[in-house]
Amino acid sequence: MDLRFPKEEPTLAEVQALDAVLGESHVVEGWQRERGGAHLAAEQRPQLLAALHALQDRVGWVSPGGLGELCRRLDVPPAEAYGVASFYAMFSMEERPSRVVHVCADLACQVLGAGALLDAVQAECGNPNQTGVPGAWQPSPCLGLCERGPAILVTEAGDPAHEAVIAPAIATDVAVALRIGPKGLGAEAPVVAAVPQAATPQGAAELVLLKRVGVVDPTSLDDYRAHGGYEALRAAFAMGPTGVIREVTDSNLVGRGGAAFPAGRKWAAVAAQSVRTRYLVCNADESEPGTFKDRVIIEGDPFSLIEAMTICAFATGCEQGFVYLRGEYPRALEHLRHAIDTARDRGYLGTNVMGLGFAFDITIVRGAGAYICGEETAIFNSIEGYRGEPRSKPPFPVEVGLFGKPTVVNNVETLVNVLPIVLNGGPAYAAIGTAGSSGTKVFCVSGAVANAGVYELPFGATLRELIDLAGGVPNGRSLKAVLLGGAAGSFVRADEIDFPLTLEGARAHNTTLGSGVVMVLDDTVDLPTFLRRIAAFFRDESCGQCVPCRVGTVRQEEALIRITLGPRSAAQNEADLTILRDVGRAMRDASICGLGQTAWSAIESAIDRLGALQ
């Protein structure tokens, strides 16, 4: 492979930024590349995403000179690196102001007034994406701060780069953030504010997975141990790998990311592989609008995730784990990075975990603004330094996953469930909840409720009970509908909320729990605008690989805009509804991955159950 690099030179700042993440420059030239080149290049490729982050963080965009230098160092073809960089929303391929304010325009914030905020920001700060100014603002997809929207994220490139969030935000906050940047902004609300149950003793007593959030110091390993930390890992070592898998299987734990696949079966399948090298991937890329549970767990109790991953790695024989953390979570990144470094320093990660001869370590991979990278195979491509496009299944990740090796890929919430399972035994865990849905579930309640936040309940509570627990619909308003499962989920009507929030209960009511999104809409909701936002979300987030999703999400949005915004005859509307149904069915049947397959679900349920678009 004889690569050709852009003729533009990198700036000193770009070289330094790459030095910091890749080490001092040691460009492999000429004959050296011939000798070890292909092998070396394959090893270096997974550093691509981190190197792109380094450039973006330092100078605010990915310039031709910077990209060329990166490609020289990593031996990556420039066209491929450009293809990867341009895939992610957080990387700018054009020069832009170093300070950027991302104003959430997504579903949960929309219920809380994001539309008015965007208008006010436009009036006060001018148009989005202006150039030639110190700071620019832009509308953003969900920032995962749904319990306290409308939210903004402020980023500033530099050495070091800074990030901060403000939620709830007003237009003045955006103006101030544009003027002074993230450094001058006030402190973020404490993590525990997102867990309303923790405010009362009886509420706190119900918590299992969230019990340490707000109780322990998330930066202290000693405090974590003082609150029961690492007891589960000790127990796991005592029962051995097969013992752990037995307990997880007996617990009937299923994946919490949305697909509800039995965790024990996945672990057993990886453990049974003959290939020695295996990987563990923790999916912390929660980007489903209205989902923020993983953020709360990582921010409030990061060591629990590290302990749970170590147990999983021990059970399945993985030596290397990855946490794929969504890019818009500055505090979660800080807490998790600190926790991993501390655990490694103290012998809880590394070549000899707890002195027992077991080797395991964790790398954080920071996402860069792509919802699709939460898909279980797209996440592999992203970690490997390729475009985050889903792979074709079969083969499944348990056989051929990250770097082509058997891989366990589990959501954050799924993994932390393993701690009580190992401590109390699988059967005890299976006794919680219902026959078909065991354990507790963390729900992300947002929108028109008095106390939005994450709520942890044993499976079996009804949707009405959950909404009541969150204080119900405030200000004398009445409930209009609930969006379950986020943009990829479906709506239920106000008169349908008495079913139990279990896998089987949701299925019986022809809906889904998904990742646990419960977005409450009151009678003031502007349903057409809300639906257009869902359509716009999928159009933005489609990776573009397969035709049904790439073009279908665009045609879906166009038809929705025509129906809801244009003066239309009944016949025209009928034709567009037919287009919606035809396109939706093809997306569901023929798309490669879950994104396209569910891109029509919420809109379909709005038409069929809420009577929208009539």
Partner: protein, 290 residues
């Protein structure tokens, strides 16, 4: 991908028994559903499938129903399993194929893709039904004398990227860039081909199914409306330049070479050529002065 290096000379393969549209079919283990359909004589349309490339199953026009699967599966990449019950032509597969043709046809110029018009009739696809809608229409990129890139015709089948990259040429001059409907084939920062890593082997042109990549000679003749495939002759011969001996198919119109392809079944190059064989034909027809 089949090449001389992968000629199956190992142990004999087991036969797998499957059902296609109600009929029992035996096919060797490791074959795809598409292989089985071809062997059985069942017609399945394909667009992004390339006979010399790994399937990317991106276009989804070849989807079939495999009983027990929640969604339709791409026949080009899905391997057969014993006992599979496959429906290639029921209402569900016809619906998805029709919609794929409509969605593609509404956004991309498919006029140079030979099979599409027939499929539109077969599946009663009406690409115009979406009315005024977003397309990938854009000017033709003409930045060199050998081939042009008309991305208004591009269906993003990834074949050119794969042929340029690790599957054949190892030049890596192009990649898919952007995301969603804005995804497109691009060099780094969209620089012109002369500034890119392109070596003008034209192997991307060879695999392009829709005429998005085209010999400049063909493009110019189409613009001048002199392109006429019905009077063209195809002559397969051996490339005279070096000792490798690649097969060439010379396409001639009015006794002039207008483009060069290479037979995909050729064991020497599997349809691949270098710049000399692909584009170096002018000396054959430059007439001697006096």
């Amino acid at each position: 991908m089949t090449s001389i290096y992968e000629t199956p000379v190992g142990l004999p393969r087991r036969a797998v028994s499957i059902q296609i549209d109600g009929e029992e079919v035996k096919i060797s283990e490791g074959a795809t559903i598409l292989d089985a359909c071809k062997a059985h004589g069942t017609d399945v349309p394909t667009l992004c499938y390339g006979d010399t490339l790994d399937p990317v199953n991106a276009c989804r026009v070849c989807v079939v129903e495999v009983e027990g699967n929640r969604v339709l599966v791409p026949s080009c990449s899905r391997k057969v399993e014993p006992g599979m019950v496959i429906n290639t032509d029921n209402e569900r597969t016809r619906h998805s194929r029709k919609l794929v043709l409509e969605l593609l046809g509404s956004s991309v110029d498919l006029s140079a893709a030979p099979m599409v018009a027939g499929w539109n009739d077969q599946y009663q696809a009406d690409p115009m039904r979406f009315g005024e809608s977003k397309t990938v229409r854009q000017p033709v990129k003409v930045d060199n004398d050998l081939y042009v890139r008309d991305y208004s015709r591009c269906i993003l089948c990834y074949k050119c990227v794969d042929a340029c990259g690790e599957q054949w040429q190892n030049s890596f001059a192009i990649s898919v860039a952007g995301r969603g409907f804005n995804a497109h084939i691009s060099t780094e920062f969209d620089v012109g081909l002369p500034d890119s890593a392109c070596v003008y082997c034209g192997n991307c042109v060879e695999v392009c199914p829709t005429g998005a990549l085209m010999f400049k000679t063909e493009h110019d003749m189409r613009v001048a409306e002199t392109w006429n495939e019905s009077v063209q002759q195809q002559t397969t011969t051996i490339c005279p330049y070096c000792g490798v001996g690649c097969s060439l198919t010379l396409h001639t119109q009015d006794n002039t070479i207008v483009k060069v392809t290479s037979p995909h079944e050729s064991a020497v190059g599997s349809g691949n050529l270098c710049i000399k064989g692909r584009f170096g034909f002018q000396h054959v027809q430059t007439l001697k002065h006096n």
